[in-house]
């Protein structure tokens, strides 16, 4: 069964049609990469998957997005949706508080108060995000003192702390150096066993390295979606070929 089924999805910002008849089926425990030039709708679609477009004025959505068969724009509680579908952004955005409190923030808002339970969640999440060894002796220190790469892994730990099913990542390494980037990529590959991951990236080598499926977007449409190896070795659509080989435009 699809983790996400996106059917006939259209999204308008006022009169501008940012997504056009998008059909996509995201499989569980796989990494799906969204690629495409700036303004093609890939980040818009990502945000739509946990309803982060809800607050944007004049944003209208038609079509269907099903999470495990359930319509996320139906009766589903938005807070529960966001618990199940976590988000990691382009720029690391830790809260200005301790490392511990950053990770414990989500579980606390969902009602977990016991120290032991929170300790366990914090340790497990930091371990899953491959940053535990680097921060275990300074959990009470301010998270803003961490390096960019560490901050991003902390943000991943924060997303994991509420035990989501899906992790959305919007260019999670574009602000990081190559070493931090490779740590995040390794981590993403580790995480796919437990989570469904959707990653927006401008780095096509990154998409080729880590994703199982790739979807190519252009002007709000999904031009092509398929197995990453096939898409990068024998794209079916000339527009995909032109984009991935750097001959676009």
């Amino acid at each position: 069964m699809d983790k996400f089924s996106i059917k006939a999805l259209n999204l308008y910002y006022g009169d501008f049609r940012a997504l056009k008849d998008v059909e996509l089926h995201i499989q569980p425990s796989e990494i799906t990469a969204f690629i495409g030039p700036s303004g093609c709708g890939k980040s818009t679609l990502l945000k739509t998957l946990n309803r982060m477009n809800d607050l944007i004025e004049n944003c209208k959505i038609s079509g269907e997005i099903l999470l495990d068969g359930e319509d996320i724009y139906g009766t589903m509680d938005v807070n529960l949706l966001r618990k199940r579908v976590g988000m990691v952004f382009q720029k690391p955005n830790p809260f200005p508080m301790s490392i511990y409190d950053n990770v414990a923030y989500g579980p606390r808002t969902h009602g977990i108060r016991g120290k032991q339970a929170l300790d366990e969640i914090v340790e497990r999440s930091l371990k899953d995000a491959a940053i535990w060894d680097e921060v275990k002796d300074r959990l009470k220190k301010n998270a803003l003192g961490l390096s960019g790469g560490q901050q991003q892994r902390l943000c991943i730990a924060r997303a994991l702390a509420v035990q989501p099913d899906v992790l959305l990542m919007d260019e999670p390494t574009s602000a990081l150096d190559p070493i931090s980037t490779s740590k995040i990529e390794e981590l993403v590959l580790e995480l796919k066993n437990q989570y469904t991951i959707i990653i927006v990236t401008h780095n096509m080598q990154q998409a080729a390295r880590i994703s199982d499926k790739t979807a190519f977007f252009l002007l709000g449409e999904v031009v092509e979606v398929g197995n990453t190896e096939s898409l990068f070795s024998m794209p079916k659509d000339k527009r995909t070929e032109d984009y991935i080989t750097g001959r676009f435009g």
Binding site: M234, P235, E241, T245, R247, G249
Partner: protein
């Protein structure tokens, strides 16, 4: 867009065509010496072989540089990986043409025998296969590439014919054993050149379609 990359790919294309042309020249030279020896082409295949080896190294270096610097994907990746496979077969064709030339020197005085056997047809068939394999690459012509693969059966049949003809002559009491072995070796080299032409054609198909006739897609 990616002008420098395009120029490098264009250069790779030209280098492959040049290497293919050298292979054709090498086979033509050794065939001329074999079928119509007048000494004008003596030693030419050996020189072509050295040129082919040199060309192989140049193309290899170019391909490795392209992989390193450009991280090619899609048709670019297929072209470069196919090129790296094709040049190995071309290099073997050069070696085998040179080997044929070497043996040819020992059988100069037996033109009657050569014309009685199917050596002539075999030489012509393999030159055609190599020419068509290179042409299919130049023109991105998948039908031509497939015709090279099909033609291999004809060359294989010709090799079997020659073998049977030689066996018959031996059983009829002809005792020129060394000569027969040399001719069989020449026929075998031609048959192998045909196989290499087939390999080249298969990689041409891969570079066009993304699917190798024997190995399938990636």
């Amino acid at each position: 867009m990616r002008t420098h990359f395009e120029e490098q790919l264009e250069r790779l294309n030209h280098e492959l065509i040049d290497m293919g042309a050298l292979c054709e020249d090498a086979i033509s030279a050794c065939t001329k010496e074999l079928l119509d020896p007048d000494g004008t082409e003596l030693g030419a295949a050996r020189i072509y072989e050295r040129d082919i080896d040199q060309k192989e190294r140049e193309i290899e270096t170019l391909c490795l540089r392209l992989l390193l610097q450009q991280q090619p994907v899609a048709r670019d990746l297929r072209l470069i990986s196919a090129a790296m496979k094709m040049i190995s077969d071309m290099e073997r064709i050069g070696d085998q043409a040179s080997d044929i030339e070497e043996i040819t020197q020992y059988i100069h005085n037996n033109t009657d025998l050569k014309s009685r056997l199917h050596i002539n047809e075999m030489a012509k068939a393999t030159i055609e296969m190599v020419t068509d394999a290179v042409d299919s690459f130049v023109k991105k012509d998948i039908a031509l590439a497939r015709s090279v693969m099909d033609y291999d059966d004809i060359v294989d049949d010709l090799f079997r014919n020659i073998k049977e003809e030689l066996i018959r002559m031996i059983s009829d009491g002809d005792n020129r054993g060394e000569l027969f072995l040399d001719l069989l070796m020449i026929a075998k080299y031609f048959e192998r050149i045909g196989d290499h032409a087939v390999n080249i054609a298969e990689w041409v198909e891969y570079s066009i379609t993304g699917s190798h006739p024997k190995l399938g897609g990636i």
